[in-house]
Amino acid sequence: MPVTLDDRLVLHPDVALRPERFGALAYHFGNRRLSFIKHVDLLAVVESLDGEHTVGEILDRVGVDARRHPAFLSALATLSDSEVLRAA
């Protein structure tokens, strides 16, 4: 499912993050799938998702340049597909 700047997302409650120098490991204890968050900026975005602010607001808050938004939306969509993230 595509993710848009207007969506509100949260980390799935069954997911634990382990920070790494490249970003983080994300493990879903429910479906037992391991995902990789492949950039520290993406990790900063994921950790800021609060379900109240929109994805666009959080990208701005973390300081992600608008030119990078498409790549971030795509990465967030991948994480949503693996149930690392879910709609608030």
Binding site: R18, E20, F22, R68, P70
Partner: protein, 390 residues
């Protein structure tokens, strides 16, 4: 929009495979053999299991290891053996582990997975079960795993299904004799709503003696590669990355993770680089050492050396090196090749002249043999020829 935007972060600044090659501060996951005790004597057993080692970690020590893994955020362990269910405290260790955010996948031959055990497992979160089966028929399975082993595995699957466990896994070591049964094995898994998991045979443990008879032929390796490419839903533990030299890479981590992102803890707490190299040369330390597992993982000389850039070798100049990364360290070691040599099952045939030139002398033997004395291992399907030409 400028085209370079799509290559901007969050695309990884360095490919993950390069990050993993340098090693992480903690393993992504690890294998933990809980006991060398086993009721079976499979001809390809990686750990030459049979007899319990009296120095086995106590229940309390196992809990201590779990505590460390929790602190390190190792999200899951692959419990095995031997037959892990032979430990009287097996369920205690499993429950302690999942209660401490360390998920459990465990491998069993199924003998002791009765109706009650299946119900108990079905009631637990964060537990995966892998029932070993090395053939779609007793005629193919039992020569490798022992008389009655096929029936025992099937019985365990029935119990899991009856208990409503959900999607357990059927774990198959691919051999020359069962590779033609993969469709049947997949159908068997589908019938249970289970997942098929296939892994690579290594010449480790008792496998050193059966490898030549059991390993797939080159033609079978090619068929297997295409079969796996067409079926990404089949799990492999990323163990067939040497096949990626045939073309498009197989899904998963195409890299030897030994000592970099995975390792093995054996029943007495010894930490090895991976489950397939239980040998003194790949022993990094023991969880009972001061500093525990964490210190072994982070500071052992062996693991530090495995995280250094690959040294020059025949493979580095091969056009397929990026795809196969030189293959499996354990397979090279136990057939007597150098670690910079090609994988003995190199799909381009680059190891053939080296194997032909090797004599039988100087081939490393496993450092320990836990086989039960007087208990014959099952006869492989074919009689054993000499391990290689000398």
């Amino acid at each position: 929009m400028p085209p370079e935007v799509t290559s901007q972060p969050p695309t990884a600044t360095r490919p993950l495979v390069d990050e993993f090659r340098l090693g992480l501060d903690a393993p992504i996951c690890l294998t933990w053999e809980l006991t060398y005790a086993c009721n079976l004597s499979c001809v390809h057993c990686l750990s030459s299991s049979g007899r319990r080692d009296p120095r086995e970690l106590t229940t309390e020590e196992c809990f201590g290891v779990v505590d460390e893994l929790q602190r390190l955020q190792v999200f899951y362990v692959n419990l095995g053996g031997g037959e892990p269910m032979l430990r009287p405290d097996f369920f205690d260790v499993v429950e302690y582990s999942v209660g401490h955010q360390v998920g459990v996948k465990f491998s069993t031959n199924g003998t002791f997975l009765d109706a009650a055990a299946a119900r108990r497992l079905a009631g637990m979160d964060y537990v995966d079960v892998q029932v070993s089966l090395d053939g779609a028929t007793a005629g193919v399975n039992d020569p490798v795993r022992g008389d009655g082993a096929f029936a025992a595995s099937r019985q365990a699957m029935e119990h899991l299904a009856d208990a409503g466990f959900g999607a357990f896994k059927i774990s198959v070591v691919v051999t020359r004799h069962n590779v033609g049964q993969l469709d049947e094995l997949l159908a068997l898994a589908d019938g249970y709503g289970a997942q098929l998991r296939v892994t690579r045979l290594r010449p480790s443990g008792r496998g050193a003696d059966s490898w030549n008879d059991l390993r797939p032929t080159q033609a079978q390796q090619r068929d297997l590669y295409h079969w796996l490419l067409d079926r990404p839903e089949v799990l492999t533990g990323d163990s067939f990355f040497h096949l990626s030299a045939l073309g498009e890479p197989l899904p998963g981590l195409n890299l030897c993770g030994a000592g970099r992102v995975v390792c093995l803890i054996d029943p007495v707490g010894d930490v090895y680089a991976c489950p397939f190299v239980i040998h003194d040369e790949f022993l990094a330390g023991n969880v009972r050492d001061p500093g525990g597992f964490t210190s072994v993982w982070r500071s052992s000389e062996l693991f530090s050396s495995l995280r250094e850039p690959d040294s020059e070798g025949a493979c580095v100049s091969c056009g397929s090196y990026d795809a196969c990364q030189g293959g499996c360290m354990a397979s090279k070691f136990f057939v007597g090749l150098e670690l910079t040599d090609p994988d003995p099952e190199c799909v381009l045939g680059n190891a053939e002249p080296l194997l032909a030139a090797l004599g039988g002398d100087g081939v490393p033997r496993p450092s320990a043999d836990h086989s039960r004395p007087g208990v014959p291992v099952p006869s492989p399907v074919t009689l054993r020829p000499p391990r290689r030409r000398s």
